[in-house]
Amino acid sequence: MTEPLLEINDLEVSFGDTPAVRGVSLSVAPGERVAVVGQSGSGKSTTAHAVMGLLPGSGRVTGGTIRWRGEDITHAGENRLRRLRGREVGLVPQDPMSNLNPVSRVGRQVAETLLAHRICGRREAWARAVELLGQAGLTEPARRARQYPHEFSGGMRQRVLIAIGLACRPDLLIADEPTSALDVTVQRQILDHLDGLTRELGTALLLVTHDLGLAAERADRVVVMSEGEIVETGAAKQVLTAPREEYTQRLVAAAPSLKTPSRRPVSSSDVVLEVEHVSKEYRLRGQRGRGGVLRAVDDVSFTVERGRTTAIVGESGSGKTTTARMVLGLVPATDGRIRLDGAELAGLHGARLRAARQTMQPVFQDPYASLDPMWTVERIVTEPLRTFGVGDRGSRRVKVAELLDQVALPAALAQRYPNELSGGQRQRVAIARALALGPRLVVCDEAVSALDVLVQDQILGLLSELQRELGLSYLFISHDLAVVRSLAHHVLVMKDGRVVEQGPVDEVLTAPSDPYTRQLLDAVPGATAFAG
């Protein structure tokens, strides 16, 4: 048996007095691919950082051992760790936007790694950096190397970070959520590339991710973590298809999958929202001369029927959020018609816009940003009632209890502040607020994207339950096909401001007619793994 490259035994890590990792043991053999899966706060990233001796702030290893090729590096000195970092263990960090020095040329940031380990001289390091950037999949690497990070897109920055991570040909590459900030199609390209490069170099991979599907697809072995402990370890396929532990089973069940049976059709075909040929143009302040016009949304038409859900799917820049904002009347449409219950919305002012807004309410993506931190839950939930002058103080108090009950929150939460609630609870508060005026249409803009899988599953359940009980209609904006699959009846796929395909969810997601939809479907991590 070959000696493991990395061997972690009974690792304990604490931040101050708060334990973050408790008794974690795992090993990585040379060339092996291991994925650590867990939700936020599970201790997966902390474990990875502990290996490199890069625990932030008050983080300390309080127990256990970390062995590198048999050598105990648990409490190694700074000099030993500096040799380890970059040279023996590379890191590809999570957020490409914040992980590159904004005031330093990209090529230099790659070359720095080589120079830090005295692998070659300055001039050669630059040449190597250009070469590495090319290998990482950047076109025109020589020109690109001279540029600064802000001139790069997220995907390109992630390629730079991969070049940095692999620069010294380390034996192990730790990839900490390397693609979670990227669009699915870009994510797929980057992961494929990372796969190819590490296989070519024989580099072992420790992949840290929240996405079970992605883990199963990319790794040989999967380690599932929860609350600082390892729940289950096993071959990727086995963990995904036949999980032993109850937690993993719940995780697998909650993962929205493309296989979920679709909603049963609702008979009514009453149209609540009708969007016809809507466009939105932004005038660009041109770098040179006149400047042009950006068509953020280009000739989009769709309907939302009573008691049903229409979803808009697309990647960043597809115009899906702008469409939602036009429907909500937050952004005026340049062209086209938006009718709510037969009444034209575009160009409405004053009292009539006010009336229209009463029948339509939003739920936004980030439950941390969409609730005023200075307000109590009661005040937040009753805000629509107060702005519209509905009821008096007493009746509103009764209404709060009722609304909280509808979203399955205890009435005792009414006097709490948002920062005393969990992410899932906050999103329930946001839904309660949206329901306060008894709207017919709820616009959900990425309403579950910021939530962990288990919580996401609960909120999706709540949304469909409310739809059944109250006959609500949803306009559901998302980048996640699997989420859309589990909730929508009708789906639109948008790209660069245009609708490339629309139709009933079963048709579009099982037999797409447009190549872009196909590409999106293929990019969903774990699609094949789950299917098989």
Binding site: S58, F364, M374, W375, T376, E383, F388
Partner: protein, 290 residues
Amino acid sequence: MTIDAGTPVPLARVRGRTLGRLVRNPMGVAGGVLLLIVLVAGVFAPLLAPYAPAEVHFSTPFQQPGTVGFGLGTDDLGRDILSRVLYGTRASLEVGALSVLFAVALGVPLGLLSGYWRWLDAIVSRLADLMLAFPFLILAVGLAAINGGGLANAAVALGIAQIPTMVRVVRADTLRLKETDFVLAAHTMHAGPWRILGQHVLPNALPVIIVQATVIMPAAVLGEAILSFLGLGIQPPDPSLGIMLSDAQQYLFRTPWPGIFPGIALAVICLGFNLFGDALRDALDPKTSR
């Protein structure tokens, strides 16, 4: 507009949490204690001072500190230094509080409005730039030259000089807050600009306003001392720490004491506000919470 039970409650809550963090910060506690001493000295100066600040004792000039009847000694005219320091502290605090009021009363609304409406922003930002171009002392000297000296004029001059920074701070926070999702949500409820500014933006901007006020306060106290030292602020015989230092400079070689105590008083006032302000900033900033 509906008046709801809400408004004071969350503030009290935030204040409660902030207070907790302040109390756990030794620097904040030290600042608080200093401030308390200064405030008591200033507010109760008429009760604490053994003499009237301008009362002269020609028979006993230049008494050493510790002399019976004159705890901190006397100056060239035999005036009691302890009494003058107490009244001077009182004047410093008055000027400081007045300038803060002035800067808040004008700076906060301007900051809110210019952060909210772009067209107004262009005008207000130009005006703020213009005011910043006049160094505060030049501004104060000019105003003092036009309106004459005196406590109120000094306070107005120092307050005006602080308006641009207050406007900038509040404007920046308004720009941030108006893009938040909770303000967006309020728009979809058809909430008007006044409702959004008053109920969402202002309460959330309060921390930066309070922190800025703790920055203005010591700056105004020092400013008053400088103006009075130069003869452009409070006019004799009204007591001021700056005037005391200016007087003392003339006979400092003979006896240093009349020049030492007013300086210490000024340092204690400013140290109190700076310590307290720093601790408050840390307590209000979620990033620095440990």
